[in-house]
């Protein structure tokens, strides 16, 4: 149960955080229509801050709102999820290139340490797809911020990842190919460490493309119904 987490600066922020995590974790299912008073009682809020948070979430595309007709959590179709990966491919490719040019040596060392930690996690928690997904998220997060491109990081972290994570929680994207994904991550970090932006971009694009194809395959197999 996603709680209010660290004390938010304002009630609206709190509402925003609560709702966002509730949507991402699936506590609020896609397609679910939900009234404002219901939400208020569930998260201990009043309607003022709630509505402000709803506005933010709507503009981020996590929920849709028809005037006088209530809010409803967005339901992303399989096709739309694949489109999201197309966007990730080019944006994270750029992030990797800029990260290679701009990350500090210290940040790169931390990134490598992160991968070591992921490796241990994969060995230990064999099959614990959840933690693998979190590790994957951590990796991409670091590269996005390492790009030193504030808007790029904002769009990736604030927009795309939340939508992708919505599905991570129920389909565990990289499941079935954790070692493969880790090897791809290592290659990308290697390119970044060598300050080879062009290669880092190429490898990142290929990495995300592989993830997309993996999902596409699962959908075709009928394993994954969205």
């Amino acid at each position: 149960m996603a709680e209010a987490t660290l004390q938010s600066q304002t009630r609206a922020d709190e509402a925003f955080d609560c709702l966002q995590t509730a949507i991402v974790t699936g506590e609020l299912a896609p397609g679910e229509k939900i009234g404002e008073v219901e939400l208020c009682s569930r998260f201990n809020l009043t309607r003022g801050p709630l509505r402000e948070a709803l506005g933010r979430l709507e503009s981020r595309g996590l929920l849709v709102r028809r005037p006088h007709a209530g809010v409803k959590v967005v339901s992303v179709s399989a096709a739309e999820l694949l489109e999201l990966y197309r966007i990730r491919e080019v944006m994270e490719g750029l992030a990797a290139r800029q990260a290679a040019e701009r990350m500090t040596d210290e940040e790169i060392a931390e990134l490598q340490a992160t991968l070591d930690s992921h490796e241990r996690m994969i060995e230990q928690a064999q099959g614990q797809a959840y933690y693998q997904a979190e590790g994957d998220y951590d990796f991409h997060h670091r590269i996005a911020t390492g790009s030193r491109n504030a808007k790029l990081a904002q769009m990736l972290l604030g927009d795309l990842y939340y939508m992708v994570r919505m599905y991570r929680y129920r389909l565990s994207t990289s499941a079935g190919r954790p070692h493969l994904a880790l090897r791809e991550h290592r290659r990308i970090v290697e390119a970044i460490a060598q300050r080879d932006g062009e290669l880092a971009e190429f490898l990142m694009k290929r990495h995300i493309n592989a993830a997309r194809i993996n999902i596409e395959k699962k959908i075709e197999e009928g394993v994954l119904t969205i």
Copy 2:
């Protein structure tokens, strides 16, 4: 003076539109700190809907808000503007590729007609940088929607373009190279008409890169201080 435009469905939508256009047109200058009551009286709103709109604008990065300290229009530095163009390069490249694959023949014909209209505008309104910029916006708008990638179009039209347009209004990006830009546009449409997605992506990326270099040059010359 951009007015409330088509009747908004709700007061909050109205507030959102008003503020957004006010920021884009420079009616609300970057860096300007402005109180809520001031905004209310200026746009004939009450604070409820206003605050909802402020939340949306904040999450889009058009303004920043410190608790109990008021809102302030975001001011993008020259370096950040150039970073925006890096993002545009990869995202619009993708949009062009997908547009080449997915636009209908009719849409392509309309796109070509749009360019003809732009050509006439350039000849007639020689130096009217404003209309040229609008024409440029129209072109990119059509390709973004033509990509049939809802999220991509949303991010481009809802996020990036507003920030770029903020500066269009005072520096008229493509000024000095309208004929050149038009020729680049024509080549891109040609590639789309031939359903050559790879080429369309390449040309679009080069087109935006050229625009970025143009701005960079102006900044170095000191013509453009941001």
